[in-house]
Symmetry: C2
Subunit: 182 residues, 2 copies
DNA sequence: AGCGCTATGTAGCACTCGCTACAAGAGGAA
DNA sequence: TTCCTCTTGTAGCGAGTGCTACATAGCGCT
């Protein structure tokens, strides 16, 4: 009966769940293995070494994030830019998104420091989010492409300020930018 | 002759230099001690434990950052908001600021995950930067307080996107927001 | 001189880290 | 059967982790 043949594919979901709640910084083989119901020995067997494990894991998490964005596609598009911002910020404040957000800063830190795999993952996530945002821009917006990039920049700034306890600063910034997040 | 009495104060500069180039993630006592010309034994002696060492170190680095901002105060204020943004982005792209920026994402990640000391440090740095920015707002700006917060949000978003290789996205966003960084 | 306090060195502990050597079971191929 | 490959378990290695026990040198105070 028992474990239907372990492989990278069957392991990744459990590994992702673990880093989503424990972070990437302290992720080490034995706890990861335990979370996946196996041993460090087998993680190395399946992935070769920790570095590729993390890289593949980041790729898998990128896919998770992408899927979450797709699932969050509303049926009708927002009417205004501020409604657009409000919607994506609301998306980010959902409880199931919290783990993603916290992990995100681990990924950014790794990308800034040049860790293998981090930059690619971060870049992919941002590209996905940008595409999503472009699709969410109000119909008839004078500059959807540029507008999406402006909103993107504001949103990322807001998320970062929120992460360090400067939520008010960000919200007042949005307000002054004509984007009251309703 | 030799080492003029070690203490927290004399140790912190060397410790800060070390984490500025090596990061906070992998910072462990022996390498830190070596960088400061001491032993792990003495670091514990002077700081009690690693956690307080890191906290005090973050406080010290906050001071460094604050001083760097003060030193970057131009004699005359920018004429427009975009000049203001351009100036602070130019400040951030100076080579001596790179180490700060990379370390910054470590701090944000730690703050997001609730590590002791990280959030306070990050918050203090953002407060300082906000104050600095307010002082840099163009004379006669219709809404200096709100404007500073908006620029702040845009700037932090820009820095984050740059950190993960989406510099273009951010610059086009600034452009679409009427803030071409010259 | 004797005492006590502060600063430091040397060793070491118990633990975790990534990774490996070695053996063994399972299943298919000959 | 015999062999071979794939997968897994057990045990361990060498290095690094935060931290501590113990000894000791130097200094000022009485």
């Amino acid at each position: 009966m028992s474990p239907a043949q372990l492989s990278r594919e069957t392991l990744l979901p459990a590994l992702a769940a673990h880093v989503l709640e424990q972070g990437l910084g302290g992720a080490s083989l034995r706890p990861l293995a335990k979370a996946a119901g196996t041993s460090d020995r087998m993680l190395i067997y399946h992935f070769g070494n920790k570095e590729t494990l993390i890289s593949e894991l980041l790729g898998y998490i990128t896919g998770l994030y992408s899927g979450a964005l797709d699932a969050a596609l509303g049926s009708e598009r927002p009417k205004t830019r501020q409604e657009c911002v409000a919607r994506i910020l609301a998306e980010g404040s959902k409880p199931e998104m919290q783990a993603f957000l916290v992990l995100w800063w681990d990924i950014v830190a790794g990308a800034a420091r040049g860790f293998p795999g981090y930059r690619e993952a971060a870049q992919a996530m941002m590209t996905k989010q940008l595409t999503w945002l472009e699709g969410q821009m109000p119909e008839g917006d004078p500059d959807p492409a540029g507008g999406a990039r402006m909103l993107m920049t504001m949103i990322e700034g807001t998320l970062m300020l929120s992460a360090v306890g400067h939520t008010d600063t960000a919200l007042q910034g949005l307000l002054a930018g004509g984007l009251p997040p309703t």
